[in-house]
């Protein structure tokens, strides 16, 4: 078998392992990929990344401290989790069929931007107070529980909330804050229209 054909098989295998549904979280761990296709798995990941780029997808490598840079050590890469995400963000209309309502997305924008401004962690009551500014009371508690379950948030033992693993993978925090700060206030919007 030619080297090219071998690489093509490995690329398909890596894609399969990453996309296969898992009980706990999507994606795959570095050591899992290493066990499946061998030591050179990271170079195969890079080949797969090039192919996915053509389809508007990207591989995100997340370690314990957040997204890993390509300069990460072998140990860090083995311990990290590999996800395939959309390269470009969706519009509100495109995002709606995913099961996220306007209120859900607004709630996540509020929670995540607030937590980011508080260095990633804040008392749950403070976050609830912020959400109640925009959402009905019953929906606040319901949403918070749902976001924790889905991995967008983490409820800590000291009754604080911190940014969950899914938010770290799916959300571009720099864009989130930039868009929030660039949002015109309500009065300005109405006068413009």
């Amino acid at each position: 078998m030619s080297e090219e054909a071998e690489v093509a098989i490995k690329v398909k295998k890596v894609l399969q392992v990453i996309l296969t549904p898992k009980a706990r979280a999507p994606g795959a761990k570095g050591w899992e990929l290493k066990r499946t296709i061998g030591k050179d798995y990271y170079s195969i990941i890079q080949v797969l990344g090039t192919e996915l780029d053509k389809l508007g997808l990207v591989i995100k490598v997340v370690g314990e401290t957040g997204e890993l840079s390509p300069q990460a050590t072998t140990e860090q890469l083995d311990d990290a989790r590999y996800y395939i995400i959309f390269k470009e963000p969706l519009s509100t209309r495109e995002a709606s069929p995913s099961g996220m309502s306007i209120d859900d997305m607004a709630a996540l924008a509020i929670i995540l931007s607030y937590l980011t401004s508080k260095r990633g962690k804040a008392p749950a009551k403070e976050v609830e107070r912020m959400l109640k500014e925009k959402l009905p009371k019953w929906k606040v508690e319901w949403n918070m529980r749902r976001f924790v379950r889905k991995g967008y948030l983490m409820h800590n033992e000291d009754d604080t909330l911190s940014i969950g693993w899914r938010s770290i993978v799916e959300v571009d925090f720099k864009s989130l804050l930039t868009f929030l700060l660039a949002t015109p206030p309500k009065e300005q919007e109405t006068s413009e229209s």
Binding site: L19, T20, P21, P26, G27, L57, V58, K60, Y83, I84, I85, F86, K87, E88, P89, L90, S91, T92, E94, A95, S98, I102, D103, M105, A106, A109, I110, L112, S113, Y114, T116, S117, K118, R119, K121, A122, P123, M130, E133, K134, L135, D158, T160, R166, V169, E170, V171, D172, F173, K174, S175, L176, L177, F179, L180, L181, T183, P185, K186, E189
Partner: protein, 256 residues
């Protein structure tokens, strides 16, 4: 400075430091230099092991505050730093639609396949084929299911748990007790009357009383609004009627 006051001073420092470490407040609110100076002045005074350990704890917390201060500086210098107050104001001033747009604009969902694989499907089929019908599944563990049955006094007598003489003696005892109370008052509180030392005794008295009432020696008066039940000498109702009163676990005076 008295010893107690010195200890209290260190404890206050420890408490204040723990609060800063546990919250997301600005670690620069702690004047590290002044706290170290305070601890240094107190250090020669400590003699007991507990006091020295307290001083070590305070110093350890101070070092963690310094670590937090470093992280804080790094964070403020990063591109992600935004004043929390500004974020709060922006959130308040925006509509839910705009906020949803903010999230969607920075959201890159994870791609995953939600499909059952062939091996999973085979496992499911094998499991289904070996699964016993619902009716047979728990038979071994719980035995044959039986319907609810009633044990009346006659059954208890037949089973030799209760003798007829004993039952009659108990009915007489309860009736005498009730009759003596009727001499003093027109009606007797049902729950107070049946109340025994424990749940078994309460239930036993309630059963015996039901025999007294069934024999026409007394009657019940129920006040549904006040949730009261009284035992009275004579019934107001022309026709006898049956009623069920549930008694479960002791709850204060009323045992239901």
């Amino acid at each position: 400075m008295p010893s107690d006051e010195k200890i209290e001073k260190v404890l206050r420092i420890v408490d204040a430091l723990r609060t800063v470490i546990g919250s997301s407040s600005d670690p620069f609110n702690v004047d590290v230099k002044a706290q170290i100076e305070a601890l240094r002045k107190l250090l020669p005074e400590w003699k007991e092991l507990g006091e020295i350990l307290m001083d070590v704890e305070a110093l350890n917390l101070l070092s963690r505050v310094v670590e937090l201060q470093e992280k804080w500086v790094r964070y403020q210098a990063s591109s992600l730093y935004v004043d929390p107050l500004l974020v709060e104001l922006k959130i308040i001033a925006s509509t839910p639609e705009k906020l949803a747009g903010v999230f969607a604009g920075s959201w890159h969902p994870i791609l995953k396949v939600e499909q059952v694989s062939q091996s999973e499907l085979m496992r499911a089929i094998n499991y289904w084929n070996t699964l016993l019908p619902w009716g047979e599944r728990f038979r071994e563990e719980f035995g044959q299911e039986r319907g609810l049955a009633t044990l009346d006094t006659m059954n208890l007598v037949e089973m030799k748990i209760l003798t007829e003489e004993e039952l009659n003696r108990k009915i007489e005892e309860v009736y005498r007790e009730l009759a003596s109370m009727f001499e003093l008052q027109e009606k007797v509180d049902y729950w107070k009357f049946i109340s025994g030392k424990n749940l078994n005794e309460t239930v036993a008295r309630a059963v015996i009383l039901s025999h007294v009432i069934s024999s026409g020696l007394a009657s019940l008066e129920i006040k549904p609004l006040e949730e009261n039940i009284f035992i009275v000498k004579h019934t107001v109702d022309k026709y006898p009627k049956s009623m069920a009163i549930a008694i479960s676990s002791p709850r204060g005076e009323k045992e239901r």
